[in-house]
């Protein structure tokens, strides 16, 4: 009886470990930093994790088919470059600029799907290649430099376009936080309550059995990569809105925290598989950690050590329990 109770406690801790960790971190930081829990700082944290979360939710969908998308960082960079160039170079309205950027990332998704589904390259390697290709494409497109308002084009022609106020507003609090929450909810509902979500998980759980149950495995894999690319693209758009310019490899830094968030989130509520809400908590964990450590004056160049350790821990918790 006692043993059973212990077991249940253990299971409870395992299932809710991320939530507990987030709460624990909040307590520790609240105690050690006086203004940690002030509204401003909380909003600050939420805003800072928005882009990571959105990109990580996309990665979550690619993980649900037992895939992996390493190209999300470069895809975000591409969206960033394309949308800013549309505004600044070509003086396009907001709608067109966003649409063109989304079309560009859809091409990335189709290329990934082609390599993985048709050529049958393992996901990790295929998207590694795509990562470099897209990084190069984005950089070539911008001529190896950044784009910002008022800066002349590569050939010296002056630019007159500016970024619309509406677009810049997207990355302001509270809009960016709301966008993040809506995306998390939509993807969560899609994965958990619809037929397509069920099939995505089926493909990830046992590809062969899914195929033999009449599921069009290739179609669902493609769908997963479209999700990850489009959400990475949205992340890139918000990034453009935030920094108001296109920077070289602007999205690259989001890959690692996104991977960490998605893997940390897997154990959320006993899911044991990639899920959107867990990913949100994973991103929150990383974001809170980063924010708190900065406020504790840990130098920014040392943060990667801690973030890397968190990722290692997240991966360990996923794979170690899977072995048994």
């Amino acid at each position: 009886m006692q043993e059973r109770k212990n077991n249940q406690t253990l299971l409870f801790i395992k299932d809710w470990a991320i939530v507990l960790a987030v709460i624990l971190l909040i307590i520790v930081f609240t105690v050690s930093i006086p203004n940690f829990m002030q509204t401003n700082n909380v909003l600050n944290i939420l805003r800072s994790i928005s882009i990571v979360t959105i990109i990580a939710v996309g990665l979550t969908v690619s993980l649900s088919v037992n895939g992996f998308d390493l190209s999300i960082g470069s895809t975000a960079t591409l969206a960033n470059s394309v949308v800013v160039s549309m505004f600044v170079w070509f003086n396009m309205p907001t709608g067109v600029s966003i649409l063109v950027a989304i079309l560009a990332v859809l091409c990335v998704a189709l290329f990934n799907a082609f390599l993985i589904v048709k050529v049958k390259i393992p996901d990790l390697f295929a998207t590694l290649a795509t990562m470099f290709i897209v990084e190069g494409v984005a950089m070539t497109y911008t001529g190896g430099g950044s784009i910002s308002v008022g800066m002349p084009r590569l050939d010296g022609t002056p630019t007159e376009g500016r970024i619309s106020d509406f677009f810049l507003l997207l990355s302001k609090t509270p809009w960016i936080i709301l966008i993040m929450l809506v995306i998390v909810m939509l993807v969560h509902v899609f994965l958990t309550y619809t037929k397509h979500g069920r099939f995505l998980y089926a493909v990830g759980g046992n590809e062969e059995a899914a195929k033999l149950s009449g599921i069009s495995v290739n179609r669902y894999k493609m769908l997963a990569y479209i999700f990850s690319a489009v959400l990475a693209g949205i992340g890139g758009l918000l990034l453009a809105s935030q920094i108001g310019s296109a920077q070289i490899n602007a999205g690259a830094g989001y890959l690692m925290p996104a991977v960490a968030a998605a893997f940390i989130g897997q154990s959320f509520a006993g899911h044991g598989k990639p899920n959107a809400i867990g990913t949100l908590f994973g991103a929150a964990l990383v974001g809170i950690l980063e924010n708190g450590l900065v406020m504790l004056s840990v130098p920014y160049y040392s943060l990667n050590i801690i973030k890397g350790l968190v990722l290692a821990f997240a991966l360990a918790s996923t794979y170690y329990s899977r072995k048994k």
């Binding site: 309550y193 619809t194 037929k195 397509h196 069920r198 099939f199 998980y201 089926a202 759980g205 046992n206 062969e208 059995a209 899914a210 195929k211 033999l212 149950s213 009449g214 599921i215 069009s216 044991g272 598989k273």
Partner: protein
């Protein structure tokens, strides 16, 4: 002439959790002879050979070599004693990206204490040994690029390098063509005559055994039931001994109403080579059996019909309408269902709860606008199906991983009963299923036929096929060699055709 070496195994027994695989087996093997070992699935022939090759050190009983007591504790010891085995899965013993020469000389490469390898010598030795057995094979070729037959030769050559005295060939001819088989036979004969090896030849194909072997040992249920010189026994006697004439299985099936032709398969050929010009039909309400030994092409035929392999020729008609199952997706759309042989790998989602496993092939009735799943309706249907298939589980939320093999199989079957599948293909559905669940599964299949479905039941368990089917197609070497009416046939007759009896008679 070299001196004769004799292996004697006395009172060998071995147990695995729950099963006594061998009991008090006495077996004797002499160098210079080809010795056949035959038995139905699970008779213990592979277990006996694995003891000789050191894979199962926990046997009881004694093994003598030339009268001297030895104990075979592992594969290395077995090799030191001069015994080598060529398993059916040749790839497990070869390194694909090394050359033929390196693979033949693998043990020298590994165990030679010197750090610098004399490649010329390695190549020369490999070439010599291939010449000795008369095989023309480019020793520079990578093993991954050579044929299965050649891979076997590489393993045989490796055994020769070590001057082994005994060679066990476990179903060596199963993947080989006629010409390759003949070549193997001439090499085996040469090994025995000129190198004085003792060969154990395991095969299901009786004509082959009669062609090449001198002695035959027949096993059944972990015992040796008969030993004989090959010329003193007939194929029919061998079959009789294999099956054991202790029970006489009567066909219990009631004759049912005969329906129209549901599925017609015409001259089907696939790219695996194990479905070769296959034609057959199934009526509505009918259960047909695909009988045949392991490797006869039953699984491949099921997969070809279900759209899992490329069909090179032939056609499939469903109720007179030609259909094409390009992929399993199309097959399911065309009202086919397959219960695959490798249940855990291909049939079920072990990490998912039962209700998700049951509804996966047909979620349509449980979805509303926007493809949202009607959770309550789905679970209700799952509860009903669990009752119908008699799966033992507390509720529909259990992970399938927690169920027994038999109950997992019921779930794999139940999945298709949730669909409107007309043609159900069962590939070895009782594999790893306990006796109780087996009879449940039989009843379930019988009910499906009564309800108007057509069932294809593929298995190498002949007693099952006689119990449950209406008609039997016997497969041998990728072809249907005989059609039998179950109520008018016997296990002997099915076995006769399944072991190539007809082919033998024709030759």
């Amino acid at each position: 002439m070299k001196a004769k070496t004799v292996i004697e195994m006395k009172k060998i027994s071995i147990e695995f959790p729950g099963v006594k695989a061998l009991s008090d087996v006495d077996f004797q093997l002499e160098s210079g002879t080809i010795h056949a070992v035959i038995g139905a699935n699970g008779a213990g022939k592979s277990t006996l050979m694995k003891i000789l090759s050191g894979a199962y050190p926990h046997y009881t009983g004694d093994i003598f070599i030339n009268g001297e007591l030895v104990s075979i504790t592992d594969a290395k010891k077995s090799k030191e004693l001069g015994i080598d085995i060529v398993y059916q899965e040749v790839d497990t013993a070869l390194i694909p990206y090394l050359s033929v020469a390196e693979n033949i000389m693998l043990d020298q490469l590994i165990f030679d204490k010197k750090s610098i390898i004399n490649w010329r010598k390695i190549r020369q030795c490999a070439k010599d040994v291939l010449d000795r057995i008369g095989i023309e094979l480019n020793i520079e070729k990578k093993v991954q690029d050579i044929s299965l037959a050649d891979k076997q030769m590489v393993l045989i050559a490796r055994a020769l390098i070590h001057e082994r005295k005994f060679l066990i060939l476990d179903e060596p001819t199963a993947p080989l063509s006629q010409a390759e088989t003949e070549k193997l036979f001439s090499i085996v004969r040469d090994l025995v005559k000129n190198h004085h090896l003792g060969i154990v030849f395991i095969s299901h194909r009786l004509p082959e055994l009669f062609e090449i072997c001198e002695k035959i040992t027949i096993m059944k249920d972990g015992r040796i039931v008969k030993e004989s010189l090959i010329e003193k026994i007939t194929q029919n006697q061998v079959i009789e001994q294999m099956l054991g004439k202790t029970f006489d299985l009567v066909h219990h099936k009631k004759l049912k109403e005969k329906g129209q032709i549901a599925l017609q398969v015409n001259h089907l050929v696939d790219d695996s080579g194990l479905v070769n010009d296959v034609s057959f039909h199934v009526n509505k309400h009918e259960i047909i059996g695909l009988a045949g030994l392991v490797g006869a092409g039953k699984t491949e035929l099921c997969k070809a019909i279900f759209g899992m392999s490329n069909i090179k020729a032939g056609s499939i008609e469903l109720y007179g309408k030609p259909i094409k199952n390009l992929t399993p997706y199309h097959a399911v759309k065309n009202h086919f269902g397959l219960i695959p042989e490798e249940r855990r790998k291909e049939g079920i989602f072990v990490e998912e709860p039962i209700f998700k496993n049951l509804s996966i092939a047909n979620l349509q009735p449980f979805t509303r606008l926007g493809s949202f799943i009607k959770q309550e309706k789905e679970r209700e249907a799952a509860r009903l199906m669990i009752q119908k298939i008699g799966a033992k589980t507390p509720n529909e939320h259990q992970k399938v991983a927690n169920l027994s093999g038999g109950n997992q199989q019921k779930i794999a079957i139940g999945k298709w009963l949730m669909t409107d599948a007309e043609i159900l293909l069962f590939d070895e559905p009782t594999k790893g299923v306990d006796v109780g669940a087996k009879s449940d599964i039989f009843n379930l299949i019988d009910e499906q036929a009564k309800e108007g479905k057509s069932v294809i039941y593929a298995t190498s368990e002949l007693s099952e096929i006689l119990l449950i089917t209406d008609r039997i197609y016997v497969m041998y070497d990728g072809k249907i060699v005989k059609e039998l009416v179950t109520s008018e046939t016997t296990e002997d007759e099915v076995m006769f055709y399944a072991t190539g009896g007809e082919a033998y008679a024709r030759a």
